[in-house]
């Protein structure tokens, strides 16, 4: 009896102190919930890439066909780029001549696609979960995967990582002021090149 109690206690300790991996969530449903929370919003934005610094307003707008349009313009009103994100693809409606380079367009679309959770992925999501976290992984249409860190009950995502072979090559940290659908601020950090994007929710009435 004593042995049984000890074993039971040990088992309970093990169960509650260690993450329980391999428990599968419903990743499709969680992803659908997270995606549906993305609404129209404006962000004060700055982009630092190599020696260049761009600033302005980034607008995400949900369109009637459920696509999300991302428009980045400078303070004076000139549009840098305008992208439509569908579930499985994206399309540049406009890009300023100085940014009209394949690598720049691909990188910008990937970063925004990671935030908007659409347009850049293929296949179904996979998921592993612990007591505290759920990790939803999506495969990029290009190379690699992106991991969304959420909770087992599918709370708004605080960390998004584009995983390389051993570690993250891009990290996106999202901060919320309240339990709202879109983050108050977002920081995108590329770990292999000097490229950062900072977004801060912008209220035109401020």
């Amino acid at each position: 009896m004593k042995n049984f109690s000890v074993r039971s206690s040990l088992l309970l300790i093990v169960l509650f102190s260690q993450p329980i991996f391999a428990k599968t969530l419903e990743p499709d449903e969680c992803l659908k919930n997270l995606r549906s929370g993305i609404e129209s919003i404006k962000y004060r934005t700055s982009i630092d890439v190599l020696q260049k610094h761009l600033s302005g307003l980034l607008i995400f707008k949900r369109m009637d066909d459920s696509s999300i349009r991302a428009v980045f313009m400078n303070e004076v009103g000139a549009t840098f780029f305008d992208i439509t994100f569908y579930n499985d693809s994206y399309h540049y409606n406009y890009v300023m001549k100085s940014l009209d380079k394949k690598s720049v367009k691909k990188t910008v679309a990937k970063d925004l696609g990671m935030i908007l959770m659409r347009g850049i992925y293929k296949g179904r999501p996979s998921c592993i979960t612990s007591l505290e976290h759920s990790y939803i992984t999506l495969r990029l249409q290009s190379k690699g995967t992106v991991r969304y860190t959420t909770t087992p009950d599918c709370a708004p995502v605080e960390l998004i990582e584009n995983m390389g072979r051993k570690k993250a090559v891009i990290s996106v940290r999202q901060f919320y002021t309240a339990k709202v659908s879109m983050p108050d601020s977002i920081f995108v950090q590329h770990h292999t090149v000097h490229f950062t994007i900072s977004l801060k929710q912008f209220n035109a009435e401020e």
């Binding site: 610094h53 607008i59 707008k61």
Partner: protein
């Protein structure tokens, strides 16, 4: 009932036509050019408030910002956005400085064709030299209080950026009242200037790009 609706419709159409037709073709272009150039020669400086409304037609969004505008003879412009964000742009001949909440950047507009063109439009509107801008063809219309200059891009680079730029000038002092930049996709940015003070001494420091 039908006749009342018809009368209302006719009134609405008449009003709309009157508004659209409020600008008519200029009667004497030569006199306008002469007066515009003369007024520009007299103009030493402009200080004014402005409201800019960026209209994103497809997104059905309007972004309104407010700020201060300064012009000083000698190709110097300062555009200072104060609300709802802080952003500063200074043009001083070929030098340009922009500063947002995070960083100050300086450029030589000669090294960037787009910047050079924007610089040129700003300065040409102020200096009365707008007819000589080879990147646009210009048409002038008038009503009782204003002239409307329509600048249509003639170079491929400008055509990619704008479908048209409208410059509204005061008939009393020939200064810019409104500037409407209409983009190819149908979006536009309308800048409306108010509280204009002409020929007041403006500190040179405001146009420093360093």
């Amino acid at each position: 009932m039908r006749s009342i609706l018809l009368i209302l419709l006719l009134i609405a159409v008449t009003i709309a036509n009157a508004q659209q037709g409020s600008f008519t073709a200029l009667k004497d272009m030569a006199i306008f050019k002469q007066k515009f150039t003369a007024a520009s020669l007299q103009l030493q400086s402009v200080e004014s408030d402005f409201v800019q409304v960026k209209n994103l037609s497809l997104l059905k969004e309007k972004i309104t910002s407010h700020g201060k505008f300064f012009y000083k003879k000698g190709n110097k412009v300062r555009i200072e956005y104060v609300k709802p964000f802080s952003y500063l742009m200074v043009l001083n001949n070929d030098a340009m400085m922009v500063m947002d909440e995070h960083k100050k950047s300086t450029f030589n507009t000669r090294s960037n064709k787009i910047m050079q063109s924007i610089n040129s439009i700003m300065m040409d509107c102020m200096s009365g030299n707008v007819y000589n801008n080879k990147e646009f063809s210009t048409n002038v219309m008038e009503n009782t209080k204003e002239y409307m200059l329509t600048l249509t891009p003639s170079t491929s680079m400008m055509k990619k950026m704008f479908s048209m730029i409208e410059v509204y000038l005061s008939k009393t002092d020939y200064t810019v009242l409104r500037l409407n930049m209409i983009e190819k996709e149908g979006d536009n940015s309308l800048m409306t200037f108010s509280n204009r003070i002409l020929n007041k001494a403006i500190d040179e420091k405001l146009f420093s790009t360093k």
